[in-house]
Assembly symmetry: D2
Homo-oligomer: 351 residues x 4
């Protein structure tokens, strides 16, 4: 068996946002290029998208704001949920805290992100209660906890169960906090849990979702999915004044509509999750230690330097997270053949 | 001759951003959907775009930041050029002042926009000098003029001559201001002037350009074109922290590259300008008064209510700016046949 | 008769904030320096101040936030009344627009100040209605009018009648705006109008007042006087997060309490208004033209350059507003003898 | 021996900002109330203050900005030192992070505060190096470390030695960071160290100091002491646009001048440190466990609930930090007799 590199081919396991766009989304964009349509959302595709989201999330009147990045979705959502003197409670590993250059503080007028500890990169009700207990409520020296932000899947690929979300949201609501879900890989979580979008979001107490599409076959946008009327009323203005209202919004809305239509988003995520399962089964067989057993499409595994070097030389792209740890992420585009090729390289090298 | 409406067809003269995307841009997006590419600009299309911009603007090292809207381009540019206690001088009709919901103040940390008067929606050196004369320089009670922002074409379709830009920029530089050009319809101005992109921008003293594509056949982005290293260094972070760095940036960069390649942007604009010229020639013939004679692809004309009603009923979409004033905007998609049909309706109604 | 300068004495007519502090306020500060008291407003002087304000403004539960400057009072008030995407309507000569370096935009998260025209530096209901008529309500391209801010006395010394405030506030409320009064010289207006503090403020529809003390014998603070519970709840946090909560607040509260106690603020203002009246009577007698007849303690008069030079040489400090215009401002410290001395100089020079 | 409460007297050990103002400062304010003086710092007291600071800090051209609170001093200093996309490294217990309601993020346009661990509430060079090592330099997903902020004394009363400051500052400068010192209790640290103000600040590499006066006999202001010209140029505007320029600044400047004159600030701090030493000597004698041995005027000690209750009942005010931990803070106003009375109560209760 040859290495992928021998065929001039590289296998992408760095990130799911390095993958291409699903052809259905490209086709939707092309399909929306018919005649003229009012700018800034005054078009039929945007109306259709909101109807689609209402259907998919099983709730009337869902508002959707297409935005150009997950960072925009998160920061705008939080700016609409949290007063500028408030604090957003999140896990200390959260993307909003670690990887968005302070976007939420910036768009949120100086709001604070407060990272809480928790095993497996997940928040616990105990950690939230501990944060509440250490808060001087009403004391203006201290940013007041106002929003609980969950990330699922987390940046290390863990997911919350539906009842975990519900319990965390209930704990938050007891003290008046609103609840945000960073769902940059929401479809992967839904597939892994086998639950509905409604169950994991508003039925569990979530007010606003950052709905990722880009890491799952998206083309040029993610979206804010908003179940809260007051937040939606703010987002109408907050999106514009931060430059996040697309002029030809039909091309964004059409993509997202296609993404949600006929379960495409779930099929794409199911494929990514499945190739990851194939990979981890193979790694298990080969005796490669997994740092965390993956719930979705991401795994951290122990590979010594020479093995990692050999894998890279053979044409596999991935990230090294330390001297003996690598991260593999599969995407909707990863094929079973890709996985088998990766495993074959590892097997040869180990032999 | 029949009305467009009889054929189930409507003619779009409301805005050039209601037009579709040029097929070359869609093809470029599809063409970029090959295999994997690093996110956030670490891809070959983004490198190619910067090389293309350097070539088109005839200057090495031009930096390009694709963004989702003209508002984002303007507000981010100004935030990188103006300190938060500074003032941006612009015409009192400027889009940044009138139509962006305070985005520049928001992303610029509270900077002030100071609208100056001027005939024909254009700034004059005299108005700039008058603003300087009324400024308490160094007095911290007053926002300090720090940037001159020109819009060309203006929101009423007027354009600055190259030497007008150069004189205004020189006046600004004399007092230490930097110069921004809101070029939401830059290509239309270039075509009308018959000058090069370099002549109208950095050679005339412009530091940063908001380069419009969306109103001229664009799909999902405009861009910041930056000739100033310090501003570019800030924009690297400012784009991210406001959520304006696209994940799969290759799909934005590929569009913009196609837009600038082989003069496509100029051909699209030339077509829009030409159909506008055909329209105004016809309006002249029919004795319709023009409020301003158009320099590019936009005209304001006097039409009484019944005539405007008849035109709308016949299948033409346009905006009414007052009881007897209408605005017509042509786009790259407007055809000579569209114009002839519009003129035919008017002629029949007048008869 | 000699010039003031002959006695080594200068007469201060530049600004009322160049005057000293009233001895009652210094005494109150000294009086508050007894033993310990909790910081940040947890002291009896602050409680007493709020009780005093409730009594003086004839309304239970008035909230008072001592702040270090009128700019802080204005900007914080507006930040609590106006959403960050909103616009504050004010006169085009307003201090908040012209002389505070964009503080309201900064503390208000990018809110816009929209200057309206109006005779005599005052807003009119017509101007407000015109602003409303030119607003695209609900359109997110445009900052939404959210607050009407009146300044009385204006920066040129004009005052609104009680019914003018009431009519403007009613016009504002009709469209959902809240009402702010910049009362940097509120006491001077009250004395001139002969009305109560309640009549000119909340009874006329004002929600929040920037209560000036510094220009009227104050020592180290002005205050926000808040009749609106929602705004007060925000100010609790907004003051702290902008660094505007004094640690030893008792020394600020004690001043303000003394200022409002037993009509001191009105007596100080009455004295300043009276010396101004004495001055203008004298200027009339001498045939000096007044640009505006003063309502309070400020006048703009025509003095040719040589006369102004002579006055300055004789020991009078004042501001020149142009080649033949001067501004005189009296304060609580200005004496009738000061005025007579000024008039004597002018008379001698004219003779 | 009687309890303080028997004499209607309470002993204040809650906080040094609950103490009164030193009489010298009150006298200075009264002394500045002579005649008129230009507002906003255009007065002789402010000039004198800057000369005084230059002398005390042994460096020409020191700039001083009086502000109304330590929070204002910190947040404004950091906003002038750190770009809005930057991160300020500080100890995880730092006041700027824990007790200022996000003021630095707010005035700093969304900058991030990054808390680092360290024993004894102090930063170490190792922790700073670890923070650097975990930073993705130049990566716009991550707030870039731009300022190192030290607090000395810390909020738990620990102090940095001069060479510790110098080493930390050197480590920071190596990566281009600037250095801020939160000196809310700077005088207490100087007295404890026996070093000069210059040695602990700019000679050790500090660019800007938040100079506390309020906790050490101050009346109504702290100050920013700035050794960096670029930061000072920004602070000129940043103070104004956040409402932090006092109108009658002479009354703030006169206080601070008196505070720094003739070593008053050091004498006041020496007294507070000495009464704390007397207290801890007594606690040692009584066998009361100290959580941390105090370097300055603050101690955390173990007292069981009944003992604490008895102490409170006897007329001593202090804070309880947990079920068996109390905090005692002495101030310039605390007397040896106060301490002896406290110890007598404890001794009687223990007996």
């Amino acid at each position: 068996m040859n290495d992928p590199a021998d065929a001039g081919h590289r296998i992408e396991l760095r990130s799911d946002n390095a993958a291409g766009a699903a052809p259905e989304l490209l086709a939707a964009v092309a399909g929306a290029n018919t005649g003229s349509a009012l700018a800034y959302g005054g078009d039929e595709w945007t109306r259709r998208l909101e109807a689609r989201a209402s259907e998919v999330f099983e709730r009337p009147g869902v508002r959707v704001f297409p935005v150009v990045s997950g960072t925009a979705a998160n920061a705008l959502s939080l700016s609409a949920l949290c007063p500028p003197w408030g604090a957003v409670l999140c896990h200390e590993s959260a993307h909003i805290l670690r990887s968005e250059c302070g976007a939420s503080s910036m768009l949120g007028g100086g709001l604070q992100l407060r990272g809480l500890p928790g095993p497996d990169t997940k928040l616990t009700v105990d950690a939230v209660h501990a944060a509440f207990a250490s808060t001087n409520w009403g004391d203006n020296h201290h940013a007041q906890p106002s929003v609980l932000s969950l990330t699922s899947p987390t940046d290390l690929g863990a997911i919350y169960q539906v009842d975990e979300v519900a319990e965390l949201a209930a704990a938050a609501r007891e003290r008046g906090l609103r609840v945000h879900l960073d769902g940059a890989r929401l479809a992967n979580a839904l597939v892994a849990l086998g639950c509905s979008a409604a169950e994991l979001t508003w039925r569990a107490g979530v007010d606003v979702v950052s709905l990722g599409a880009l890491k799952n076959g998206g083309l040029s946008c993610d979206a804010i999915v908003c179940f809260d009327d007051a937040a939606a009323a703010e987002l109408h203005y907050r999106t514009k004044r931060s430059g996040h209202v697309a002029s030809k919004m039909r091309f964004q809305s059409a993509q997202l509509d296609a993404y949600l239509a006929d379960g495409l988003w779930l099929r794409l995520a199911a494929s990514a999750n499945a190739t990851m399962a194939r990979l981890t089964a193979g790694l298990d067989r080969l005796g490669v230690e997994l740092v965390v057993r993956p719930a979705v499409n991401m795994v951290f595994a122990r590979l010594d330097g020479p093995t990692a070097d050999a894998l890279a030389a053979a044409g596999v792209d991935f990230y090294r997270m330390g001297p003996d740890t690598v991260r593999f992420v599969t995407s909707w585009q990863t094929t079973p053949e890709d996985i088998d090729a990766v495993l074959a390289v590892l097997e040869r090298h180990r032999a």
